[in-house]
């Protein structure tokens, strides 16, 4: 009888479980620990313009998830306007439209952006087609050519050329040619034009410098330079290469940030605020578009109520694992195999101390009443039913009493699974009659110990976080339990039990 298929299944479960968990960690930045804090930027863009009393159309660029940032949620506030989100050439845009815009118009767009570590494969727009015929008027053609030649001579590739070119325009070392060109042209379009003339693909892009608590900010212009597949961002003012960490690219396809038809004096301004929030919560508010494939199968796509339910359900395997460990590896006796898990679930609702006191009270009083019932010579089902009603009565009395005494903790006693408790009382009572109080203590104590350990495991914030956020863990648990089911070694308590045999 080959055990190979068994180990293959276990290995498969393990690998799939671990892979699913790592996938979720890497792809969705679900953290391994619940306490991890993440920065979330709350960014609000306000578009204002004067309506002319005619149909108006507002077209605004939107940020996408990118290196260092992930867009979590976005909302708009624009009463009276139709709204559409468009996606073209890897750039996202919002389009507001209305039949009649009169007077001062305000449109709001807010986005929550999560600061993430590590690079993402952002859907970057393709580089612009090379522009070769750049025409200048005299005398700018000579000045442009000289600036290009100077920078070209001092550079080796597209990026160094861009740096050298931009430094020609840097404030402190502007040459005569640069100054001349700047009288006629804006700095950024001029730089792009010069780059294009030199055969370097480049475009102007817009980004938002994130700085907490700032209001009425506007986008800053940057120059994106392409060298084959590589690209780099340059600060047009200083010629510095590289994207600052707090720069959120807002528009990177070379389009206008804002286009308004049927309005005048259009403006866009930004305000922003940073918050620290638990990473798990940040994950929870991810866009729905992220979790629509089977691989991203997640509890988070369910309604909140069902999520709360699943949070508990997904913990049960942990409790069951504790029971399996204690029974198979330690050899603890419990009354009813998985009764301790149910008790532990009740402890989660009641908190440990209240739960323990309540459990002991109910079982003790139940045992006393059950011992009377055993004199009545009842049929089993009727007797257990009588015990169930007794348990309910005990729980009601304790609840009312504790409420009268102002002990709110007593109210949670109702979370105990009453039918399970009744069977526990019935079993313990029989155990008492047949094997004596000692065995009741052993099994009752074993059950309580198991329940407490299962409770500690299931109530651990880290375990709760992991079970809820990584469904792959269930497969790993399954593999572990299958392995434990295959364990033929000694139980810990057997080392004690069989001790006398080894003595002689």
């Amino acid at each position: 009888m080959s055990r190979l298929p068994f180990y293959l299944i276990v290995a498969l479960l393990m690998v799939v479980g671990i892979a699913m968990s790592i996938h979720r960690h890497v792809e969705f930045e679900v953290p391994w620990t619940p306490g991890e804090q993440r920065q979330v930027w709350e960014i609000e863009a306000q578009v204002t313009f004067d309506g002319q009393g005619e149909p108006a159309k507002v077209d605004m660029a939107l940020p996408s998830s990118q290196d260092g940032f992930r867009v979590l949620t976005e909302h708009t506030a624009s009463p009276g306007y139709g709204l559409a989100f468009l996606q073209e050439n890897g750039a996202r845009r919002a389009e507001w439209s209305t039949r009649e815009a009169v007077g001062d118009q305000r449109l709001y767009y807010t986005a929550q952006v999560l600061v993430t570590e590590g690079a993402r494969k952002a859907t970057a727009p393709p580089p612009p087609p090379p522009v070769t015929d750049v025409a200048w008027e005299r005398p700018y053609d000579t000045a442009a050519q000289q600036v290009i030649d100077r920078a070209w001579a001092r550079s080796s590739d597209a990026f160094t050329f861009a740096r050298e070119l931009l430094s020609e325009f840097a404030d402190d070392r502007q040459g005569e040619n640069a100054r001349l060109l700047l009288t006629q042209f804006d700095r950024v379009p001029l730089a792009v034009r010069l780059l294009n003339q030199a055969g370097v693909a480049a475009r102007e892009v817009s980004g938002l410098m994130l700085d907490s608590g700032r209001r009425r900010q506007s986008l800053t212009s940057w120059i994106q330079v392409y060298d084959g597949d590589k690209r780099a961002l340059f600060n047009p003012a200083t010629g510095e290469q590289g994207k600052p960490d707090n720069l959120l690219m807002w528009e990177s396809a070379g389009n206008a940030v804002l286009e308004v038809e049927g309005g005048r004096d259009s403006r866009i301004s930004f305000s922003m605020l940073v918050r620290n929030q638990p990473a798990a919560a940040a994950v929870r508010s991810q866009l729905a578009e992220d979790s629509d494939t089977l691989l991203n199968f997640s509890i988070h796509s369910l309604p909140l109520e069902e999520q709360a339910l699943f949070q508990t359900i997904l913990l049960i395997p942990i409790g069951a694992l504790v029971v399996v460990l204690l029974r198979v590896l330690i050899g603890i006796k419990t009354s009813g195999t998985f009764m301790p898990v149910l008790i532990a679930l009740a402890f989660i609702q009641t908190t440990l101390l209240t739960g323990l006191v309540g459990f002991l009270l109910v079982v003790a009083v139940g045992l006393v009443i059950r011992s009377y019932l055993s004199h009545l010579n009842l049929l089993l089902v009727a007797r257990v039913t009588a015990v169930i009603i007794t348990v309910i009565a005990i729980i009601s009395i304790f609840t009312v009493l504790s409420y009268r005494f102002g002990l709110n903790a007593g109210l949670t006693i109702t979370f105990f699974p009453m039918i399970i408790l009744s069977w526990t009382i019935e079993r313990m009572s029989i155990l008492w009659e047949e094997e004596g109080p000692k065995e009741v203590l052993i099994q009752g104590g074993g059950s309580l110990l198991t329940a407490v350990l299962a409770y500690l495991a299931m109530n651990n914030p880290w375990i709760r976080h992991i079970t809820f956020n990584f469904l792959g863990l269930q497969l790993i648990l399954m593999a572990l339990i299958l392995l434990l089911g295959n364990y033929t070694g000694y139980r810990l308590l057997e080392l004690r039990r069989f001790k006398p045999v080894t003595e002689d």
Binding site: M1, V328, N377, G485, P500, V501, T502, D504
Partner: protein, 326 residues
């Protein structure tokens, strides 16, 4: 560590743990579908009669709550009897009435019961109180066993029975279970009965344990255990071995009892025999089971017993004392 031993030492002794027993022997050699044969004592009894294996006298069966009221008619004329649940386990729910005095039913402990108590007990059995999983059950009423008085000094109140582990038809290990005051006349080791390991070759006592700790005498009668010698040992082993053919179970615990008049009888079978027998014998089952697993030859019950008696013979560890006349 004063009270603990190491897995290595246990392994060296060949001790089998619960997990290994469950997976390696019960799981592998005991087919699930055969369990009802041994879990239901009524079925075992009928099967045993079919295979010519002696069992205790069958007084009657109570299978409906209605007939509980008529149990006194069934019991009339029997001075002593045993009521047990057909699907009980671990000795639960077995009521032994040693004698009947007028309206009183006397237990071996001397406790007196009324007919109502007996009826309630039977009713409990029927409603499944003692059966596995609480399923409805049947109560068996059997005649009292007139146990061999040779063992009177070795036991307190109850009937001593002999547990033989039969592996693939070979008797691999045996022990006698002597009831004590602590075990309330029952022969279950975890309830406090004394277990005495019996040498497979000779039927002599090897070693005694109570509550998993060594003993050399009976706690209640004070009689030393070394002189214990079972008469008709080979017959008993052959009877036990025959249970393999009868049930088809590869790893089987047979509970035998020696009746004064009828000789060895099969009391009940157990598809999940406990491990305390290793303690009683001071030896692990592992080597013996390995040896049997290596056997490929087809053998009859008598041949298997001879094989076991040849290979598993051992010296008693208790003081060798001449058998006293009791």
């Amino acid at each position: 560590m004063l009270n603990w031993t190491s897995p290595g030492k246990l392994k060296a002794k060949g001790i089998i743990g619960m997990n290994r027993r469950n997976i390696r022997y019960i799981g592998r050699y005991n087919s699930r579908k055969l369990y009802p044969l041994v879990d239901d004592k009524l079925k075992t009894k009928l099967l045993a009669q079919e295979y010519g294996i002696t069992t205790p006298e069958h007084i009657g069966t109570v299978s409906t709550q209605f007939s509980v009221k008529h149990i006194s008619e069934m019991l009339a004329g029997h001075n002593g009897f045993v009521i047990k649940p057909a699907k009980g386990s671990g000795g639960k729910g077995i009521l032994v009435i040693e004698r009947v005095e007028g309206k009183h039913f006397i237990k071996p402990s001397g406790a007196e019961l009324d007919i109502e108590d007996v009826e309630r007990h039977v009713s409990n059995i029927l409603s499944g109180l003692y059966s596995l999983g609480g399923s409805p059950d049947v109560a068996l009423v059997e005649g009292l066993i007139n146990f061999d008085t040779t063992f009177a000094a070795y036991t307190y109140e109850g009937v001593p029975d002999i547990r033989v582990i039969v592996f693939k038809g070979y008797p691999v290990m045996a022990m006698m279970r002597l009831s004590t005051a602590a075990s309330d006349g029952k022969a279950n080791l975890h309830q406090g009965a004394v277990g005495v390991g019996i040498d497979i070759a000779s039927g002599r006592a090897v070693r005694g344990v109570q509550f998993d700790r060594s003993r050399t005498d009976h706690p209640d009668t004070g009689h030393e255990l070394a002189s214990l010698q079972i008469t008709g040992w080979t017959t008993l082993l052959e009877l036990a071995s025959g249970c393999y053919e009868m049930t088809g179970l590869g790893y089987l615990g047979t509970d035998m009892v020696l009746d004064r008049d009828r000789g060895p009888m099969l009391l009940e079978l157990n598809a999940r025999p406990g491990l305390a027998i290793q303690m009683a014998n001071g030896e692990g089952l592992r080597r013996r089971l390995d040896l049997i697993e290596a056997q490929t030859e087809e053998r009859s019950a008598a041949e298997r017993v001879a094989f076991a008696q040849h290979h598993f013979a051992r010296q008693g560890e208790l003081q060798e004392a001449p058998a006293e006349a009791i």
